[in-house]
Symmetry: C2
Subunit: 459 residues, 2 copies
């Protein structure tokens, strides 16, 4: 079970795949040379999209695709209320936070109303990376420590600081000297591999024993930090552990972990870029599903349906030591247009009940995938919460990850006009994370395409 | 001449100023408590803007202001071509760089065509901070060094890395261990204060002697780095030295400096957030005005008229060691909507000749300010390039900075419905940096308001 060198390379196009592409696609892939080699393009046969509506997108030839990947278009591609809000505000005024504007104040109050009352301050940035970068600085100033703990396959951003906290970027990316990693809460394998807790007689973990095992990982990491003279500052985690491979259950297992973080003097930074904004179906935020109250919350991707917008919320006493002494200005962060887009997204989430849709359709989706399992033993595990589902591809009869088959499935799904990706330490977990307006019909479309794909591949 | 504790505090509103504000303004300033204390609000009597057109903005009471501060709305507030481009693309599709899209490729080629041919790669981010953060990582990977040199009052961003390279944030912000500072190229004071070069008999510096003095600063900084075991990576500088106080002349003085940076094994990162995009009137980029070719170029603010968009361009050989081994994905960076906005801005800059306007109107503006000098000896110096002008406020008959009078001027200008700010090490330089569509009539408006202001204050 070799770990991939980088999670971002899993289903990347490479120039040697250019033969056989149609003329336009080939020209476009060649023109991307000007962007340099750090950019990854999805698929052996890249997709050239030009239009989007709801959970569907179209390529330049008019071919329609089902989008089971894009969480940025959270309320659906090109939602008219968001588009109208952007256009209206962009034609009225776009400035910054050094002047007064109602949009930022209204949105700040509205988004904080979705959080536990302890989280009573919010600041705006443009990207999730910026939010996490700021969150770590705030945590360090509050605790006086430096050390940050993340999980083994975490991804938290592309800035110098956050890329050093993102082992998912691969071995070429140097990790921060003061960071430590703990195993992901891998309910599928962790018991056997890491001396973890034993499942009960039904093969399930209890939240208590699983949480105690994870809390022990925190204790060991902090002990190692202290051995090297590093004071503990924060545990930075996405409560659905998306890049680790999607591990939402058993809900409640994070309570002993946050208690341990606090006991050891650290703060909990909940990276809600992935599980937040009604994605998990049972709460607005992923951490609420786990029943914990973080010290700092960050988000980004789904917040404004594609306009660069992110946030960092915090308890006022945690924010104060940083914010009381250091000015923070983010030229575009919280500007009237971004705030108008974010407000429209939040309004749509309420009016169209995206949380209810995530819960209902997510359950149908997961059940349909579980039903596929019996005829297709390459599907080792199906897990998830709401419209975030991980589907583990393994060597039949074992729990050995089979990345090669996962990538074949991915590429064949793309040829069948379904867009998705993979995640997890071994790059073998199908990452099913559609816009929140995904419907029962979309589930049928996916299951049909998946069935065809599995039969085509004979797996 | 005490240095301010932070450049960002110069003309900030403080809660103890709330008395006397009208009810709405007071409510809005109070509601900002939810944003925490790191945000700065301009003016003793904050401005509540709701509408913008060209170089003019309006507050909620319908009062019109002349905007002599905002470079983000580079082609004018709410330019209809930019608004239309945003609305059209937002209603068609907004995705990311893992799928093919024409917008990013067309814009990449178009923006590189404005640069020297050596700069042949470009990557997109959302903020200038992200661009500078990435640029430093690229420079470090290419050179194998860590050390970065900036000027004494530089501001390069709000990420952990770039805030540590931003002494302008004030003394509460910890600077990076491996960074060093050199004096700004302060043509107004540096000769007397820092053992700098002597001006010629007409009181002017030659580019050669001034550049040699600055290059010597680089040599000393690198020697100090080496003394501490730090290898030199980059000189990160804004070629107009905006937060230092605006020092564009004598044009050509940066050539000996870049030669020295290269001789010592470093790269030159040109932070073009301020001087780029035709602002200086004589070239598209500030570094072109200086006749140098940087190794890396970053920009942000003026690029998409307010949509969060930034870039990092580089020579391919400089980018390769980083980009060839480390994947970089910026969720919103280079997305179709941001690229549509950026393309519209670039098209408008060409079609409306913003460079010509900057040159012409900037010259008229500077001459008009120089004409004010004789009757108002508090104006110690007027300098600038195109539509970026610094106006130094001093104790008459001396070169002693007078921040108190500068702030009084700023606040009185605001009461006379003109928006601007201050910059420089002593916070006493009026920063005149309007949208690039600033007109001759706007210059008249400003000069009238400034004359009234100076007379009101009796300075």
């Amino acid at each position: 079970m070799a770990t991939r060198s980088t999670i971002m390379d899993t289903n990347s196009f490479r120039p040697d795949m250019a033969q056989g592409l149609d003329r336009t696609t080939r020209r476009l892939t060649e023109e991307r040379g000007v962007l340099g080699p750090a950019y990854r393009l999805f698929y052996r046969r890249p997709v050239h999209l030009v239009k989007g509506r709801g959970s569907h997108v179209w390529d330049a030839d008019g071919v329609e695709y089902l989008d089971v990947y894009n969480n940025v278009a959270s309320v659906g591609h090109c939602h008219p209320r968001v588009v109208d809000a952007i256009a209206a505000q962009a034609s009225a005024l776009n400035t910054h936070t050094r002047y007064l504007h109602e949009n930022i104040l209204h949105y700040a109050q509205d988004i904080l109303s979705t959080m536990p009352r302890e989280l009573d301050r919010v600041m705006f940035q443009c990207t999730g990376s910026e939010a996490n970068d700021l969150a770590v600085r705030v945590a360090r100033t509050y605790t006086g420590g430096e050390g940050v703990i993340v999980t083994h396959e975490a991804y938290h951003g592309n800035s110098a600081l956050t890329s050093g906290l993102s082992p998912a970027l691969g071995t070429a990316q140097t990790l921060g000297l003061s960071m430590r990693m703990i195993p992901a809460p891998d309910t599928y394998r962790v018991g056997a591999q890491d001396g973890g807790p034993s499942p009960d007689s039904s093969g399930r973990w209890s939240a208590e024993s699983f949480g105690a095992w994870m809390a022990d990982g925190i204790r060991r990491a902090v002990a190692d930090m202290e051995r090297h003279g590093i004071a503990f500052a924060a545990f930075l985690a996405d409560s659905i552990f998306s890049s680790d491979g999607v591990y939402p259950d058993p809900a409640g297992y994070l309570q002993p972990v946050i208690d341990t973080v606090h006991e050891l003097g650290g703060v909990w930074i909940a990276d809600e870029v992935q599980p937040g904004f009604t994605r998990t179906g049972d709460a607005f935020w992923g951490f609420q599903r786990q029943g914990i109250v973080p010290d700092i919350v960050t988000s980004g991707k789904p917040m404004a349906n594609g306009l660069p917008t992110s946030l960092m919320a915090a308890r006022h006493e945690v924010l104060e030591p940083f914010a009381g002494s250091i000015p923070y200005f983010n030229t575009f962060g919280g500007n009237p247009v971004c705030m108008a887009a974010a407000q429209a997204v939040l309004d749509v989430m309420r009016d169209e009940d995206t949380m209810g849709n995530s819960r209902r359709v997510g359950a149908v989706f997961k059940d349909a995938l579980l039903a596929l399992q019996s005829g297709h033993p390459c599907i080792g595990d199906v897990r998830g919460a709401g419209l975030y589902i991980g589907c583990e591809i393994v060597t039949p009869g074992t729990r050995l990850p089979d990345q090669s088959t996962a990538l074949d499935i991915l590429e064949t799904l793309r040829m069948n006009h379904v867009l998705t990706s993979v995640c997890g330490r071994y790059g073998n977990v199908l990452k099913l994370r559609p816009p929140l307006v995904f419907s029962d019909d979309d589930v049928d479309l996916f299951i049909n395409a998946m069935t065809t794909t599995l039969e085509t591949l004979g797996v």
